[in-house]
Structure formats: C-alpha cells, structure tokens
C-alpha cells in the first residue's frame, strides 16, 4: 500500500492523493498529500467547509477516503488499553449521565482495562489537565473550558501517540482559549505527542504550531505551508511579539485568495 514504511520515515501520519467525495456528489477534500513527522505540532488552517475536519476524521479512521491512502503510525499496542489516536471534538462531547471520572474512563472501559489500572491512569490524566479535584462532578456542573479539559483528559488517558484536535477551543471565550492554548503547549512539550490541530484562527495556529498548513476552500487542498520557528518555550511574550505579528500577517495573506476566490466560502 505504501511506498516505504511510515515508521522508518519518522512519520506519524502520511496522506497520499487523498480525496473525499460525499454521497451527495460534493467533493470535500483533495487531492491532498500530507506528511506529519512524529512529535510535530501541525495546524490545519482554512475557511469553514474546506475539509480540514474531514481530513482529521480520515486520519482518525472515522471516515474512509474516496481515493488515495491514509497511513497512520501504530506503535502503541491496543492490549493494555493504549490507543494510537486521541480525538478532541469542537464540542466537549461528554456523556451527560456520567461524572468526570467515568467520562475519562470511557476509552479504558471499552478496552476492558482493569479498574485499579484505569483509576491510576484517570487520576494522571485529570492531573495533567488540572482537574484532579473535579472527578466526581457532572459535566453540567462545569464551565465550558473545564468541559474541554475533561475532553482532553479523555483523549490523553489512552496515552496516544497522535492527538487530533478539531477546533477544540472555538466555542470558548478568549481568556479561556489563551489559557488552554498555553496548557496544550505545556502538555505537548511534556508528553512529546504528535498533535494535529484544526482551526480557522490564524492567531491560534501561529501561536501553537511548528508548521501551519493553509488549505484552500472546498475542495480542500494544500494552499501553502509555513514553518513557525521561534525560541521555545513559547509563552505570553510570544503572543505580543513583533515576530508573532509578522507570522500572522504572512499566514493571513495566504488565506486571502480563498476568501475572495469563492463567494460560497
């Protein structure tokens, strides 16, 4: 299926000539080629409906490509309840009938992990997102930002190699979003996961990622890509720096054709 072994190439995800056409005949994506290295933080940036979420669903295996190949590195063995991919949706997508602990436990329960082992990992995951004291709370008792943290903890609890985030902070207020941006960067530095982050915010993509991939309007293709090289670790100073502003300007200009080119976008 693939020309070389994806792990040998040091890649976490590889897409080759991937297209997705829906039953309605609408082509949402592609053809798209994409290489994402292990441990890389990549943002997919584009206007609404450009297929960036579709790309994420294809990588997660939640959808099947109409053409082309999707390769994902599978290092983690499933036996101990590890799962190679963690997924965070735009909505927190929590089960309202279960408390925080049980929500985070879900992937482990589905993998039949023993309760003691699960408890240890859930505690770790909740501590990582700063929600250790809220294990017994129900989703409705939490703020939007906290729900998103629970969602993140659930994605982390299987210790995945790849973290897929689909506009996870889009519905949050700016203050909460900035804080979660910083927390996500901390987690990425600490856990060395591959992160693919879908967003329609230029500022968020530049702030977070090593590489920003700008996509065209439907059907989504690769328009341009940018490397954001700056001194790590990034923090609030970076957000207000001239360097950051310059990157944002550059990325924004790459987005402009997709705004003016197609009215429907």
């Amino acid at each position: 299926m693939s020309e070389t072994n994806i792990d040998a190439a040091g890649l976490a995800v590889r897409l080759r000539a991937v297209t997705k056409t829906y039953d309605s005949g609408v082509t949402a994506l592609g053809p798209l080629d994409l290489d994402i290295a292990k441990g890389e933080f990549v943002s997919l940036l584009g206007p609404s409906g450009c297929g960036k979420s579709t790309a994420l669903r294809l990588i997660a295996g939640l959808a099947v490509p109409s053409a082309g190949t999707v390769d994902v590195s599978h290092r983690a063995s499933k036996a101990d309840g590890r799962h190679p991919i963690g997924f965070v949706f735009q909505e927190p997508t929590l089960m309202p009938w279960a408390n925080v602990h049980d929500n985070v436990r879900l992937p482990l329960k589905l993998a039949h992990v023993t309760a003691t082992e699960a408890d240890r990992r859930i505690d770790d995951a909740l501590a990582q997102v700063g929600l250790a004291e809220f294990a017994d709370a129900y989703p409705r008792e939490l703020s939007g930002g906290m729900k998103m943290r629970v969602s993140l903890a659930r994605a982390l609890v299987t210790d995945p190699d790849i973290l897929l985030l689909d506009e996870p902070f889009a519905a949050l207020d700016e203050i909460t979003r900035f804080r979660l941006n910083n927390d996500l960067l901390d987690l990425w530095r600490k856990l060395h996961k591959t992160v693919i982050f879908v967003t329609h915010s230029v500022f968020e993509s530049v702030y977070l990622s090593q590489r920003v991939i700008v996509m065209t309007a439907r059907p989504g293709r690769l328009a341009r890509e940018f490397r954001v090289t700056t001194s790590e670790p990034r923090g609030e100073e970076f957000r207000t720096s001239a360097e950051y502003a310059a990157h944002c300007r550059e990325v924004s200009s790459a987005l402009t054709p997709s705004y003016s080119g197609q009215r429907s976008a």
Binding site: L62, H83, F87, E91, W97
Partner: protein
Amino acid sequence: MSSLHNIGRMLLPIVVLSVGLALWELVVRVNDIQPYVLPSPYVVFQTLVSDWPVLSQSLGVTLLTTLEGFIAAAVGGIALALLFNQSKWLEHSLFPYAVILQVTPVIAIAPLLLIYLPQQTAVIVCAWIVGFFPVLSNTTLGLNSVDRNLAGLFQLYGASRLQTLRYLKLPAALPFILGGLRIAGGLSLIGAVVAEIAAGSAGSGSGLAFRIAESGYRLNIPRMFAALLLLSVAGIVIYGLLALVSHLVLRRWHESALGKEN
C-alpha cells in the same frame, strides 16, 4: 416570594376542588335530587366507605391487570425498539403494524380478543396494546438521538455493538424511555378499563370498570361515582410514581430534572 408562589400553586387546585364539591353538595341538597339521579359528594364518600370491601378488591384486580399490562408494554416496547435499532430491515417490516395496532381503537379490538383469548389474558393484552406504542416510539427516538460525535468516539475506540448499546445508546435514550413509560402507565390503566368493560358485558369479571358497568345496570349511581373516583386516584398515583422514578433517575444530569437556578 417564590415559596409563596409555590404554596399558591399547590393551594389553588385544592381551593377549586373544595368550592366545586361544596357547590355540588349544595345543588343536590337545595333541589333535593335523589341519589340514583345524582348523588352528593357526601353520599359518594359514604358509599366508598361502606362498599370498601367490594371496591378495594376490584381495585386490586384492576391495578394488577394494569401492572401486568404496563410491564408487558415496557418490556415489549423497549425490546422491540432495541431490535428495530439493530436491524433496519426488521424495523421496516414491522413498524407499520405497530402503528396500525396503535391507531385502531382498542375498544373495537377488545371484543375480538375476548373471543380468541382466555379472559384474563385478553385484558392484559388490551392494556399492553395501548401501552406499548409510546414506549416503542419514544425508545426508538431516544436510541436515534445519540450525539454524533460521541458515536464517533465509540467507533474510534473500537467499541463493540453491545458496548455501544450499553454505554451510549441506552443511557442517551433513558430520558425518552422514561417519558414513554410515563405515558404508558396511564394508558395501561385505560386499556385495562376498556377490556374490563368489554369483558364485563360478556357477563364476568370483577375489576373496577366492571363494578361501574354493573352498578350502572343496578342504578347504584353512588357506587359508580365511588369506583370512578378510585380509578382517577389510581391513575394519578401511577402517574405520580412514574414521574418520581423519572426524577430520581435523571436528577443528576438531565435538563428536565434540574431546577431553574442551575
């Protein structure tokens, strides 16, 4: 303010009831209406006490029939909805017949059932027929209103069909199922009453509905009212119990069970 408002809400229906009863009593006494035409509330109450041995036994019979019909409706409705959810093919073949069963008036089906089934079975089947459809349609609706992303998450983590059903679909459908059960509770009572009346006219049976029919033939109007009162109370209690169960099960998480302050 709000507690005053709440007390008012509880008190008003009671005031209306008292005024209504007082007026009824007054009209009967002033016009000297005979009990076989219209019994006064006091006479109805007296009959309730004096006929209690007969009436309580009939109440027990009717309640048992209702309970059996309700359980059959709950189990049958939920089981059928689960089957439909697992197989579209089955749903398309059978659902129209569930609708037909629902829209055909049960009072018209009851005499037929009494011909082909033993009487006690026929009565329970009647209670089941009217009760199962709301459970079926509500459960189906609930099983189909699972959050799409949550379903995706289950798919991502390789959940089996059984796991998806147990950990996702059933909990998500629970508020809908409970809503269906609440409707089915009242309907089972109606089904039981209809079947009893149909059966009673065939000359046997001892439920409350039969007592009403029987008292009617004997012009024992006070007892008709007393039995009717018991039926109403039974319906209210059934509804109240099911609403309580629903509240207790959902109070931690579902919007319907949360106070406005939350």
